[in-house]
Symmetry: C2
Subunit: 287 residues, 2 copies
């Protein structure tokens, strides 16, 4: 069976595997200064955002990614006030963060203004949080922008693309060090750290470098299933010198989140840190 | 970008999504009495078994599926003696089961002898357990075969294909009842119950029917990531009138499994039963 190019969008991953979605309409297609941006309407995955040929957001499964990027750290912090998101121009992470009434400011640093603009237009539910009065959007290089902060932030979320193109610097040690420096005492940073199944070496290197920067037992990976991403078994890494995501984990979900989340709760929190044996083995000897 | 049909195998799921793997060689392709069987050699996913156009086994990720089908129940049972596997002609489930020295007999009931023969030839590591002296292979309809047993089995594993073609009866209530009848007191049955994300209605119906047969709180779904299956977020359902997979869960892995598993351990066991909120909601009101 073949896929007709005018009907199917296909992401080919490293010339070896591919994920395709049949679309009913191409809603948007532009080349920005940084990347090619496309948005399609599809029946089963809803609207999908593609950057440089890679699935970034689908309305069907993006709740898993954004909830698992945001809520483990937010719930451990209990009452974070000042948050920075690097990348994440779709606004999905911000939309989760502004659910917490105690948050005072959220700065989204997305290098590409066309990503933000196109998502505001075509992915209104996912980007809804960007309209919150506590949110500021800046279009700068996240690796430069983060250097403006010193012991100031409660939470930094690195919602990067893969380590190619503009996303490369977001996987490098100088950036990790700048993030550590930006955090208040007791602060937390969470990084998306790719698939331990299909991007084994990127995952290993990221965790190793984060452990070098934050401390050998202070960078803790956790996992979730993101069906539209290559490998589907996806990782995030929770970094904090003072907070332990398991010892300080929530016993119950904060009441204002009841009924507002589709993936995350206090049990899913603990489960996410129970790493599959092969994932644990990939990073053993690194602590 | 397009996928050349002589280089890529593509599974199209319900005309809406597709997963493709580039292959170096087609090793096998035959139509059996029941289905079309194909085996390809691929670089990134290893050898892959395709039945009627659907990924069944890949050397890259099948350890997740087979370990998560087999070990949660085996570890709760502690010392199962008599096991039946319905479906699973690739032998992967049996290969996990024969790791337990206390097991006295394993009967694999696979309707299609050509699946067993082709997997023995082309997937030797996955099917290795079939050569164990305690294993018997019968080629019968599992829904009929299971009626031979009454309060006799410690464990039944239903390693079915999707509920189409020969696999349909394995999702029907009379089959579920026959399985319940086949189990000893204290016995366990585990069913693969499809993706709660992309096959929502099949998942819901299967859990509902299993709860009707085994008891409202005696059929407990759990999840794992299977990247090569549609939806990737996959479910199994643990059914037992006497055993509770969490209360009776292993505190430590049995010593003879140390270092022999790549996905499952006692923490992964508990984590698998922490259902994502939307999965719990899909089946709430059913207990």
């Amino acid at each position: 069976m073949s896929l007709i190019e005018s009907e199917w969008f296909t992401e080919i991953f490293e010339r070896n595997t591919a994920f395709s979605v049949r679309y009913s309409k191409k809603l948007y297609g532009q080349n920005s200064e940084f990347q090619k941006i496309e948005i399609f309407d599809t029946e089963v995955m809803g609207r999908v955002l593609i950057l440089d040929g890679c699935f970034m957001v689908t309305e069907k499964d993006t709740f898993i990614y954004h909830e698992m990027l945001v809520h483990p750290a937010m719930n451990v912090l209990k009452d974070p006030r000042k948050v920075v998101v690097i990348g994440g121009g779709d606004g999905g992470a911000v939309t989760e963060i502004v659910k917490y009434p105690g948050v005072e400011s959220v700065t989204l640093c997305e290098i590409d203004p066309m990503v933000v603009a196109s998502c505001k237009e075509y992915l209104p539910e996912i980007s809804a949080g960007l309209a919150d009065g506590r949110v500021t959007v800046v279009n700068e290089d996240g690796a430069v922008f983060i250097r403006n902060f010193e012991q100031e932030l409660d939470l930094v979320l690195v919602d990067s693309t893969d380590p190619v193109g503009p996303g490369t610097v977001l996987f490098e040690t100088p950036f990790f060090k700048a993030i550590r420096r930006s955090l208040k005492r007791g602060g937390v940073a969470v990084f998306q750290t790719e698939s331990p199944l299909l991007m084994e070496s990127v995952f290993r290197a990221a965790v190793k470098d984060l452990r070098t920067v934050f401390g050998s037992d202070k960078a803790r990976p956790y996992v979730a299933t993101i069906p539209s991403y290559p490998g589907a078994l996806w990782s995030f890494t929770f970094c904090s010198e003072e907070r332990n995501p398991l010892n300080d984990s929530p016993r119950t979900l904060v009441p204002f989140l009841e009924g507002r989340l589709r993936f995350y709760d206090e049990n899913v929190h603990r489960a996410a840190f129970a790493l599959p044996v092969f994932v644990r083995n990939l990073i053993s000897g690194q602590r």
